[in-house]
């Protein structure tokens, strides 16, 4: 099966290449690179990734300008057709700013940039991204961000929890996110935003302190979900 994945690059994206490398390593197909100013996405996509970085220099608010860029209209339309969309780090910020996911990502509660390996717990397995995990499974995935403090009002958080839309929680909340939320799913489970970087955890490291390959499974889950579909 040819897995057609697109990685969107905004001015200031810096994890787009990592994302493309991860997707190619795990699917065997090169990812299609798409520029933010393009009005249209390639046809027949199986997957869209919004990478990490500092799109538009984080001007105004992280992800705010990218969320209004021409390509995002096409991404919103594709998400509406059920194409799986993964936003990592700045990509998560773009997804909340675009309205594809609820809530907002604010400055880390301690004000500092965090760059470390975070411990996550898989909270929901009801999505193409998380279907192959066990509920409660622990993952070690790197985080690197300044604005990762997930905020939504209590009613929204209650609804997200009630509907099984929390994909991942931090075991070591590094940024003050409400209810330790590290990743959020859309209503239909086909859009995932997360602050940790699974694309940076696809190969076993020389030493455990340098990370590992806990991110592989997330991409494999999506690829397998398309075969199963």
């Amino acid at each position: 099966m040819a897995f057609r994945a697109a990685v969107i690059t905004f001015p200031g994206s810096n994890c787009d290449r990592d994302m493309a490398v991860a997707l190619e390593a795990l699917s065997g197909e090169p990812a299609i690179r798409v520029w933010h100013g393009d009005a249209d996405l390639p046809d027949g996509l199986d997957f869209i990734a919004l990478p990490g970085g500092f799109s538009y220099g984080d001007y105004l608010r992280s992800g705010a300008m990218a969320a209004k860029s021409p390509i995002l209209r096409a991404v919103v339309a594709a998400a509406g057709r059920g194409v799986p969309v993964l936003g990592v780090c700045n990509g998560f910020q773009v997804l909340t700013e675009s309205g594809l996911l609820p809530g907002a990502l604010m400055r880390n509660a301690a004000q500092n940039f965090v760059c470390k390996t975070s411990e996550l717990e898989v909270t929901s397995t009801a999505s193409p991204f998380t279907r192959g995990f066990e509920a409660g499974q622990r993952l070690r995935i790197p985080v690197a961000h300044h604005d990762g403090n997930y905020f939504a009002d209590d009613a929204t958080l209650d609804a997200l929890e009630g509907d099984g839309r929390i994909a991942f929680r931090y075991l070591d909340n590094p940024n003050g996110s409400r209810r330790d939320i590290a990743g959020v799913l859309s209503e239909n489970g086909r859009v995932l935003g997360m602050m940790p970087h699974p694309e940076r955890a696809i190969a076993p490291a020389a030493h455990p302190s340098m990370g590992g390959d806990d991110g592989r499974k997330l991409f494999e889950n999506v690829i397998e979900s398309l075969v199963a579909a």
């Binding site: 105004l60 700013e97 609820p102 907002a104 400055r107 880390n108 403090n149 905020f151 003050g176």
Partner: protein, 83 residues
């Protein structure tokens, strides 16, 4: 015409930046500061007659994030504004 837009965190949304500045003011010896909240001010030169609806739409769709922020719009009178 000149428009000034004040974007602020909604009441109840934690403002870690304001808290850090409050802490600094306290540690510098300034007394009596109850709370500090930090927002953003946007000044815009727009065509005369730009409607309130248009300015509000700009705020709601881009300038403020309605999940966490409120905004206030002020039309600045160039005659009385100090240069």
């Amino acid at each position: 015409m000149k428009i000034r837009i004040l974007v602020r965190l909604k009441p109840g949304v934690l403002d870690p930046q304001g808290r850090a500045v409050h802490h600094s003011l306290d540690s510098m010896g300034f007394e009596g500061v109850e709370d500090v909240r930090i927002g953003r001010m946007i000044e815009m030169d727009a065509a005369d007659g730009t409607s309130d609806e248009t300015i509000t739409a700009m705020c709601e769709q881009l300038l403020a994030n309605m999940v966490i922020e409120d905004f206030a719009i002020e039309k600045v009178d160039a005659q009385t504004e100090p240069a």
